[in-house]
């Protein structure tokens, strides 16, 4: 009877609907299955790619997960450079060359010895296959002096050499990588043989989870933790996960910092590495005039933005782009643009605009700017959205500039900015904590995050020069001068730096690395925090 088909459907549905809720609510509370000493880190996105040097996604967290397996020549802690695969290194100004003397007791995870040949091979290999953050083109020649000394000749004085080639480039085992044609597709077991403190046990792309076990023979001492587990969790439930012991460390929303602190968690307020910027299209009338851009800087109350939109968890933007708590910060630019609508109006009048009613006009045509904003969605915490857009629109219209607000999907906005089809737009980027070479990228380069401002010769010259000053003190002074010119030219207006908070239960001494992990990753998961260094 055809009733059978119908009966079966009903029975399955009923049976399943009984089992699931029962199992759902009945189970025992989630107890930490800490067979051995497992350290769990919760992350909102979860999957950052297969943690081999060429396969992980080109984002900060991807680099962190790879750095646990592969070591670099030198590394950084919260204060300064510390030796890693290279015991010591010295710079010979005459030959413009660096000589590294390597540790002798380091071994690859598959047991073979680590020698200078691996370092030379890595430099040559990176020349053919550019590694994401680092261009090895600057090394003219690298030669191995015996098994444990390497000398690298630079083709030009390059200040960030130690930061990038020395401290970011992961050293690859020659005996594995020498015949790998397309490195990003090389995702077998062998691809994960490194010299780092941890070995990858499992990686699941769908669950967005990683499991590392300690490398007992690590040449810098046995890791303090047996296993590290990365787990994917919604950003709204991070705090609950910490409280229920489902995670030991996680990035938490700013508002919960205080509450978690009282409950005995360790709160780490992050360096201000991410900046929210007002991108200005300085090719278009009237934005091409310096005075107009300065007027914008006076008109927008950056302190109010931090107070309302970030609820105080952040610093107002410094006109020189570099955040106040960075070692390269130049205090002179501090209060060059206090919030004063009057001075803004004065500057605009100077450009020949008169105020009719409550908006400025010039020979009959109203002055109107279109402000592009990227709507809701999953931007990084503190990214400017339509709320900041509304506030800036209010402040500019108080001064007399008519603003029409338009919300776009984030990538559409990026492409609009890249093609210059915009007046002003809200955007932002990270990397401020790293080497000042970032300034070149954020002012001269062609990426949409960069201001692409070549008009001021003085600025261009200073920027090129600062790369070549090997001596730190004189470079600091030149970077300070760059900030002053930038503040005057104002190709893009830094609005604010959101403060990110990490919370952890103290089982590992997490800290923020000097100028970020590797080439500037603002995450406190420095691998050396998990290694109790015996020396």
């Amino acid at each position: 009877m055809t009733g059978r088909l119908y009966g079966i459907l009903l029975i399955i549905a009923l049976a399943v609907s009984l089992v699931v809720p029962l199992a759902g609510c009945g189970g025992q509370k989630e107890k930490g299955t800490q067979a051995e000493n497992t350290y769990t880190v919760a992350d909102a996105t979860g999957d950052w790619g297969f943690p081999s040097p060429y396969a992980h996604y080109f984002r900060g967290p991807g680099y962190i997960r790879m750095s646990l397996i592969f070591d670099t020549l030198l590394w950084k802690n919260e204060k300064e450079y510390i030796p890693a695969l290279a015991k010591s290194w010295e710079y010979n100004a005459g030959e413009n060359s660096y000589t590294f003397s390597l540790v002798e007791n380091a071994t690859w995870h598959d047991g073979s010895k680590f020698t200078a040949r691996d370092v030379v091979f890595t430099i040559d290999y990176t020349k053919m296959h550019p590694y994401q953050g680092v261009s090895a083109g600057v090394v003219k020649k690298a030669e191995a002096l015996g098994d444990y000394r390497v000398k690298m000749y630079l083709d030009r004085p390059y200040a960030p050499f130690l930061e990038y080639i020395g401290g970011t480039l992961p050293i690859l085992p020659e005996h594995i990588w020498k015949d790998v044609g397309s490195p990003e597709k090389f995702q077998q077991e062998k691809a994960l043989v490194g010299t780092g403190p941890f070995i990858l046990e499992d990686y699941s792309k769908e669950q967005g989870s990683y499991l590392y076990r300690a490398n007992r023979e690590y040449y810098q001492g046995k890791p303090a933790v047996d296993r590290i587990r990365f787990v994917k969790m919604g950003s709204q439930v991070m705090a609950a996960a910490l409280r229920q012991k489902q995670a030991s460390a996680a990035q938490v929303p700013p508002e919960l910092g205080g509450a978690l602190d009282e409950e005995g968690f360790f709160i780490l307020a992050g360096k201000h590495d991410w900046v929210a910027k007002l991108m200005i299209n300085h090719q278009r009338e009237p934005l091409n005039k310096k005075e107009f851009r300065q007027a914008l800087a006076f008109a927008i109350d950056r302190q109010a933005l931090v107070g309302t939109c970030l609820r105080g968890h952040g610093l107002p933007g410094s006109p020189g782009l570099i955040p106040p708590d960075s070692p390269w910060y130049n205090a002179a630019v501090e209060n060059q643009y206090p919030h004063s609508p009057e001075r803004a109006a004065l500057l605009i009048k100077g450009l020949g605009y008169e105020k009719k009613g409550n908006f400025f006009e010039k020979n009959g045509r109203a002055l109107e700017l279109e402000l592009l904003v990227s709507g809701g969605g999953q931007g990084s915490p503190g990214a400017p959205g339509d709320r900041e857009g509304e506030m800036i629109k209010g402040q500019l219209e108080k001064v007399g500039l008519k603003v029409s607000l338009r919300s776009l999907e984030s990538k559409t906005l990026d492409s609009r900015v890249a093609e210059g089809q915009y007046d002003i737009a809200l955007g932002g980027h990270g990397g401020l904590g790293g080497d000042p070479e970032m300034l070149n990228r954020m002012i001269l380069d062609k990426g949409f995050n960069s201001a692409r401002y070549q008009d001021s010769q003085e600025l261009n010259l200073a920027l090129k020069q600062q790369l070549t000053l090997m001596d730190r003190e004189s470079r600091r002074e030149l970077v300070g001068k760059v900030q002053e010119i930038y503040a005057r030219e104002m190709p893009a207006l830094p609005l604010y730096y959101p403060t990110w908070y990490w919370a952890h239960d103290g089982r590992a001494p997490l800290y923020y690395t000097l100028q970020g992990v590797g080439s500037g990753v603002p995450i406190p998961l420095n691998k050396m925090a998990f290694v109790n260094q015996n020396d």
């Binding site: 399955i12 699931v20 080109f58 609950a240 229920q244």
Partner: protein, 323 residues
């Protein structure tokens, strides 16, 4: 029994969808390079890196060239390489599809079964308190979006009561046997499933109830009662059987939103489903992955419609007669 007309139809529809799949991602402003690498400032877009990426993604070919390559590789059954994940698209899809199929498929079965059962009971007692209560209750629930219900459940059961794990589909690496792992999987599944079922229950319930009311007035119900059939037999085997047709149509429709239907619930529970995968693919303008997802969604819709048409004939012989 599927005559030639049907096959040509579905092939035609598939061709149209394939061209659509190819065109849609490329129409979107912005290109993959910018979407994937633009964001992170720490990547120095060195000239050699840029043109190596362009050749790797074969973005240098003309649109027509890319289309021919796309169709060619499709015929060979190769869905291409994902730009962002650096893994074959097929592998990525195989990773997420089972989880979505489990979640949305199960939700659909439960909501259809439950909706049918409640609809028939409520339709049979039209106007009495049970009917009014059920009707009123469902009206309020149907007004809440699925992510709203999801968040409420998460806050109550997950955060405050801590009964249920807070996110994901499985507690990774707990190293248990398969039985506790199954229980753990179910405990993860409980809340997202409940929110999806609540969101979809009302439509089926209303359909079943309305058809039930009209069917109870039919003469063959009197014949059934005169045969001495028991109350439940009359309700389910005679009257209920009639409301199976509209409910199956509605279930077919809901099933076609399988892929993107649960996007928001997946985001709230960070459940590794296809919705979240597609949202990421959109953010990174990952053309091959987008094409793969669109193809999978199109194939699901076409097969579902084919199944519903076949099921029509099985459930209601008159339909076969009317065609």
């Amino acid at each position: 029994m599927i005559n030639r007309g049907y096959c040509i139809n579905y092939l035609l529809a598939l061709m149209v969808i394939l061209t659509l799949n190819f065109m849609l991602p490329r129409l979107m402003p912005g290109d993959p390079l910018q979407a994937i690498y633009g964001d992170e400032a720490m990547i120095a877009m060195t000239p050699e890196l840029k043109e190596e990426l362009i050749s790797r993604y074969s973005l240098d070919l003309t649109q027509a060239g890319q289309f021919r390559a796309y169709i060619g590789s499709l015929l060979r059954g190769d869905l291409g390489y994902s730009y962002y994940y650096n893994v074959p698209v097929a592998a990525v899809l195989l990773g997420s599809f089972p989880w979505t199929a489990l979640l949305v498929g199960l939700a659909l079965c439960i909501s259809t079964g439950l909706g049918l059962f409640l609809g028939i009971e409520s339709g049979y007692r039209r106007g009495r308190t049970v009917d009014r209560l059920l009707l009123g209750g469902f009206m309020w629930i149907s007004g809440l979006p699925d992510f709203f219900v999801g968040m409420l459940l998460l806050l109550i059961f997950g955060v405050t009561l801590g009964l249920v794990p807070l996110a994901g589909a499985v507690t990774p690496y707990t190293g248990q046997g398969w039985a506790p792992a199954l229980i753990d999987g179910l405990r993860h599944l409980a809340l997202p499933l409940a929110s999806l079922v609540l969101a979809r229950l009302t439509a089926t319930y209303l359909l079943a109830r309305n058809t039930m009311i009209t069917t109870m007035g039919e003469p063959f119900i009197m014949t059934a009662r005169s045969k001495g059939c028991s109350g439940p037999a009359v309700r389910y085997r005679h009257a209920g059987r009639n409301s199976l047709l509209p409910v199956v149509t509605a279930a077919g429709l809901q099933l076609s939103h399988l892929i993107t239907g649960a996007l928001f619930v997946e985001i709230v529970f960070s459940y590794p489903g296809m919705g979240a995968l597609m949202y990421n693919a959109l953010l990174t303008r990952d053309y091959p992955l987008l094409q793969g997802i669109l193809l999978l969604s199109a194939v699901t819709v076409l097969t579902v419609n084919l199944l519903v048409d076949l099921l029509y004939k099985r459930i209601d012989p008159r339909v076969a007669y009317a065609h």
